[in-house]
Amino acid sequence: METAIKTSTIKDKLISEFEASKKILFGKPQLRDQAMESFCNQGIPTRKHEEYKYTHVDLMLTEEFYFSANKNCTDGQIEDLKFLKGAYVAIIVNGVFIEGSSNLQNLPKGLTICGLADAAKGNLTVFEKYYAKNADVNADAFIALNTAMAKDGVFIHIAKNMIIERPIHIIHISTAFENTIINPRNLIVVDENAQAKIIESFETLDSTAKIFSNALTEIVINESAIVDHYKIQDENDLGYLVNTTQVIQKKQSVFSIHTFTLSGSLVRNNLTLALDDEHIESHLNGLYLTAGNQVVDNHTVVDHRKPNCNSNELYKGMIEGKSTATFNGKIFVRKDAQKTNAFQSNKNILLSETGTINTKPQLEIYADDVKCSHGTSTGKLDEDKIFYLRARGLSTESAKKLLMHAFASEVVDTIKIEPLREYIEGKIFKTFECLNS
């Protein structure tokens, strides 16, 4: 019961903060009121909630939290996080877009990258058309909370036929001296026949307190557009991240998303793809490396609504220490969605006796002429392989490292931006060094 009281306390605090701040927040107050009402009805999910069974999001919200950090970081610190040379960079510190630290000079005509609040205030038609249209506040409490309380974030619009060769890098930075709740919000709209590569990274800088980031990105991919999206989740052990990504794809579009969860105390990913027309292609790749007491939970939904679409999902994880990883992959094939090809695979390696993996494929198929498959496996590093490598002169340690690399490479090799692939490989290499020592 104690938890329930504390949870309701945080709920009350959220409501009073909402009332105090809603006048200064961007957008239509009506939308925010609806969202808050929905949040109040849903409440913060506890482990009794089926979708949050393995992830005690409520427990981290039992302490005192603030809603703005009153803390900034230096430009030098921020520069260090810009690991992709030549990218357009949008900086978000504690959920607020910082133009001065971003690199958005000389954007080509047809490419808009600006603060979300600015986009709202500017009454941009694209913003009006798409904002909060696909992220349903009644579907999830965190969508509702974000929609009610988001202060800012990034707005990206790529106009018809534009090919943006340079990657667009959104860097979410958390930094605080006191426990803080933030609600970053992004809207990405890629118009017909346009192409882009977008990276979102989540980092902590110079932080000494818990930060709960309820980040939400809506992505609209219009007809024949091609989008490659990457998430690099690399916060510190005081970072708690609920990251909702809501994607809608239109006819003949191609979307690939690659989610790398490298650190953070708790990471919950809610990724939903709506395949809303025919001849759509979607790729979902994920890699999570967990250690210590980390909790990482990937919930994905692929919603095949129309015929002749392909989706392919591959999530892999390595679990060390007392950490817990969860994979829950839903695939819906609606009645109309004949000739669907939908594939899903989740593979895990348990590196310790005390780690936990929960994996749950969930296929709901209402059409009769489809090809769907799912597979899941969990095991240890194969002793026969280790012995084979040792019999050729490799130490146990390097044999294990080689096998871990091999396991991760299937996902890492899907990265199409070479410097990003190198960056991720470097990160993974460091993680393996730590695991082995």
Binding site: F387, A391, R392, G393, A406
Partner: protein, 250 residues
């Protein structure tokens, strides 16, 4: 080079090797033959250092050192090579990366600098030719999707790259058609020198038409029950293993 004295080994409490004695000198080729379940592969596994097998008695001295005290990787680094009966597939690890890592760890053990990229590539090319291994196979993941014959050839290719002092070929001939057998045997013969030694473990005599052994030993029920020259292999082929069983049990 290798001296095995009264070697007993068991797995899950069941004794498989029941007192093996064998001496191998540098430059020699020894064939170990025997019926299924006689302990041939167990002997190979014990020499390579598989931890499932427990040595309960006896000793193995290799170039003056206690082989059984060494970890599997240190045995490899000291020059012992086991060609596996069933080579393991390792998806995601390229043959080349694997061999480079192996060679460099062996070199580090000997206090040598890592191999130069240029030298490594030259060696790679040269040794591939030796076993007629397609260059494409060398670039692929270790044994992944290889046919049985390709896997065995890959074992001999690795052997060529690592240049061992003592090579143990565990049923390298099994599952090979005659063409592949010739290629593998030819590779082994080219690698043979007065400075190394080879143990060939086989069920059939055929491989010994191509790799001529100096000695043939018959392993039966965990012991070497008969030793002789290469003619012994022919005799076995002709009479079958039953005559050994009868001799032993008589």
């Amino acid at each position: 080079m290798l001296n095995i004295k009264n070697l007993h080994a068991s797995i899950d409490g069941k004794e498989i090797l029941k007192g093996i004695n064998l001496e191998i000198k540098v430059g020699e080729v020894h064939a170990i033959m025997g019926p299924n379940g006689s302990g041939k592969s167990t002997l190979a596994a014990v020499l390579a250092g598989r931890s499932e097998y427990e040595v309960t008695e006896g000793e193995v001295t290799y170039n003056g050192i206690d082989l059984l005290e060494l970890t599997p990787e240190n045995r490899a680094r000291e020059g012992v090579f086991l060609a596996f009966q069933y080579p393991i597939e390792i998806p995601g690890v390229s043959n080349i990366n694997f061999l480079k890592t192996a060679i460099n760890e062996i070199r580090a053990y000997k206090g040598l600098e890592p191999i130069e990229a240029k030298d490594f590539l030259m060696m790679l090319k040269e040794k591939q030719k030796l076993v007629e291994l397609d260059g494409k196979l060398a670039n692929r993941s270790v044994n992944e999707g290889f046919s049985g014959g390709e896997k065995k050839r890959n074992e001999i290719f690795q052997m060529a790259m690592l240049d061992p002092k003592l090579a143990i070929l565990d049923e390298t001939d099994s599952g090979l058609d005659i063409d592949a057998l010739r290629i593998v045997a030819n590779g082994v013969n080219k690698l043979k020198s007065k400075d190394n030694a080879t143990i060939i473990i086989t069920h059939y005599q055929r491989l010994l038409d191509y790799i001529i052994p100096d000695f043939v030993h018959v392993l039966y029920n965990g012991k070497i029950v008969k030793s002789g020259s290469k003619e012994l292999a022919l005799e076995l082929e002709e009479k079958g293993y039953d005559f050994i069983k009868e001799e032993v049990e008589a």
